[in-house]
């Protein structure tokens, strides 16, 4: 199979560096170029990767490389629609970050653009390529615990706002400036906007969609950021499954400009744990464990060193397969729309104090 000529745009997203190894190593890919949104990310990229042409503007890159077949939109959420249009005009396939947009009119426009131009637009929800998730799906398929009665999950991390500043800017992460509730100085756009995975995964594991959602925002553990960092969500799926989801930034971090060793204040920087309670028993899973531990450099703090982080390999394999074999991605814009609607319902519930029916 001819390698897919791929490029990256912006390089401002927190997942940008996850692609470096895969794009270099995967024989199905020919990494053609990148364009960077600003000098800061350009410098980080040039310090991290050798031999890939780096442009200051997207247009410059696209004009210089008409051979580009696909682009990873490694950008802030507010840039996605504009960049999708740019790609669509040239018939370039798209790998979108996990939140295409929270604006449902924009979302419809994205679907329309992709459909009209017959493009593959895959949404980056890498948990589907995690082996623990694969095992859980297998256990469910084998009816180990019967029908799911409750789905309880965490998708908790440190806050990326110091390394990826746009995530702390409501207009760039959420799309506009909206207070989380009346009288609360904080705005939408924080931890929730960073953590769609568990809202997506419950739909896959139950085969059902959201029926109702209730959420509360808790006091920030970082009082100096203007978006929510701690929130709790419960609700019910249409098949009766209840859920409890924690999409918080509940792990404290050092305020590094570039993620790396010593980022953690709490020993563990990230956790996705899922508990499925079923008719016949319970499955408890830690999607990123067990690990190894140290208290060495740079801060002598007890730290969890992850031993598995290869989700992007499977994700990119699927992306190439979808393009070359004209397949619909597992996570396409239309599928993902209901996940985004559920996340919007979380904000609505926080604002109104009510259970929101979907």
């Amino acid at each position: 199979m001819k390698p897919l000529k791929i490029a990256m745009m912006s390089m401002t997203h927190g997942h940008t560096r996850k692609y470096y190894q895969t794009l270099k190593d995967n024989p199905k890919l020919d990494w053609v170029a990148v364009s960077t949104a600003n000098d800061e990310v350009k410098e980080i990229f040039l310090n991290s990767v050798d031999g890939i042409p780096c442009y200051n503007s997207e247009l410059e890159m696209l004009d210089a490389h008409p051979e580009i077949e696909a682009v990873v939109l490694a950008s802030e959420n507010s840039e996605h629609l504009r960049q999708m249009k740019l790609c669509a005009e040239r018939g370039i396939h798209i790998l979108s970050m996990k939140i295409p947009t929270f604006d449902m009119d924009e979302y419809e426009e994205m679907i329309d653009i992709v459909d009209k131009n017959d493009l593959v637009c895959q949404v980056e929800l890498e948990m589907h390529y995690n082996p623990v998730i694969v095992r859980m799906k297998e256990l469910l398929a084998n009816n180990e615990i019967g029908k799911i009665k409750s789905f309880n999950a965490t998708n908790i991390t440190l806050s990326p706002v110091w390394a990826f500043p746009w995530q702390g800017v409501p207009e760039k992460s959420y799309g506009k400036r909206v207070h989380v509730k009346e009288g609360d100085p904080r705005f939408r756009g924080g931890a929730l906007c960073d953590h769609p995975h568990i809202f997506d995964m419950i739909r896959h594991m139950t085969g059902s969609d959201f029926d109702c959602i209730y959420a509360e925002v808790a006091p920030n553990i970082r009082p100096d950021i203007i978006e929510e960092d701690m929130l709790s969500v419960i609700g019910r799926m249409k098949d009766g499954t209840i859920f409890s989801l924690d999409p918080s930034w509940s792990k404290m971090e050092e305020r590094l400009k570039v993620p790396g060793p010593g980022w953690e204040v709490f020993p563990k920087r990230m956790e996705v744990n899922i508990t499925l309670n079923g008719e016949k028993g319970t499955v408890m899973a830690d999607c990123f464990g067990p690990n190894v531990y140290h208290n060495g450099c740079p801060n002598d703090r007890y730290t969890v060193q992850y031993t598995y982080f290869d989700e992007w390999i499977g994700l990119i394999d699927e992306f190439v397969d979808n393009i070359r074999n004209k397949k619909q991605p597992l996570i396409n814009l239309k599928w993902h729309k209901r996940t985004i609607e559920a996340m919007n319902a979380v904000y609505e519930s926080i604002a109104t104090g009510k259970v929101v029916k979907l």
Binding site: K149, E216, M230, I234, S244, S248, T275, N277, G353
Partner: protein
């Protein structure tokens, strides 16, 4: 119950507490002809320490308390909710003022709000096989630190001793004076003794009354599908 009563009598005698305290069951002690709830979970050492960490200034700026508890099937999930609501109030030192609950048969999930806008999430399910030890986790997250009764990067609690022989065994012994009792049994004896020693009968009855109200509100939330304010 005789074994627990013997241990309780031992403590009353050793520490010269001149009170007649009779354990009716693991939930109730009779003192002065009054049935007093022992709320024994409060005397589990882990919760005493979590309370001390939260209320003693080790954690600063509490935001959230997260609780998950999985128990044997055919046990009452609202009884488990009663326990966990009490632990939230006990550890945080704050009253719960609102609660929203979703229930599906023998599982429930709750979000409770406490004073100072602190949020408590409680996940309960009765899905374990008969005889299986409950699995639970209590975690408090604050601006300055996290406290938890499960070690970092683990899903289950550990035991003090593991024996790998023809028959695998494990032990967790936590009380020299009450050696031989399980953690739960120790908590019952310690709780009954603490009440007999402190004489805080009315306080315990008031706590029970508050918890019964909270559980009723939880059931009302399930029925109405709305948040209930206490």
């Amino acid at each position: 119950m005789n074994k627990l009563q013997e241990k309780l009598n031992f403590l009353l005698d050793k520490y010269s507490v001149d009170v007649k305290a009779e354990l009716k069951d693991c939930k109730t002690v009779i003192i002065d002809n009054k049935e007093i709830p022992v709320l024994s979970h409060r005397l589990e050492r882990r919760f005493v320490e979590l309370k001390n960490i939260v209320q003693g200034g080790t954690l600063v700026g509490v935001s959230v308390m997260r609780v998950a508890r999985i128990i044997e099937r055919d046990t009452d999930i609202y009884e488990a909710l009663y326990r966990e609501l009490d632990l939230c109030q006990y550890v945080l030192g704050r009253k719960i003022i609102g609660i929203t609950v979703m229930q599906n048969d023998n599982t429930l999930n709750a979000i409770a709000t406490a004073e100072d806008a602190i949020v408590c999430t409680i996940e309960i399910s009765a899905t374990l096989e008969k005889g299986e030890i409950p699995k639970d986790k209590h975690e408090i997250i604050s601006q300055r630190g996290i406290a938890c009764d499960v070690v970092v990067d683990a899903q289950l609690k550990q035991d003090s001793i593991y024996v790998f022989g023809k028959e695998n065994k494990k032990f967790t012994d936590v009380d020299f004076e009450l050696y031989g009792l399980s953690i739960e049994e120790i908590a019952v004896v310690r709780a009954a003794f603490a009440i007999a020693q402190a004489g805080n009968l009315d306080e315990m009855l008031a706590i029970e009354s508050n918890l019964k109200t909270l559980v009723e509100k939880a059931k009302m939330s399930v029925k109405t599908g709305e948040r209930q304010v206490i």
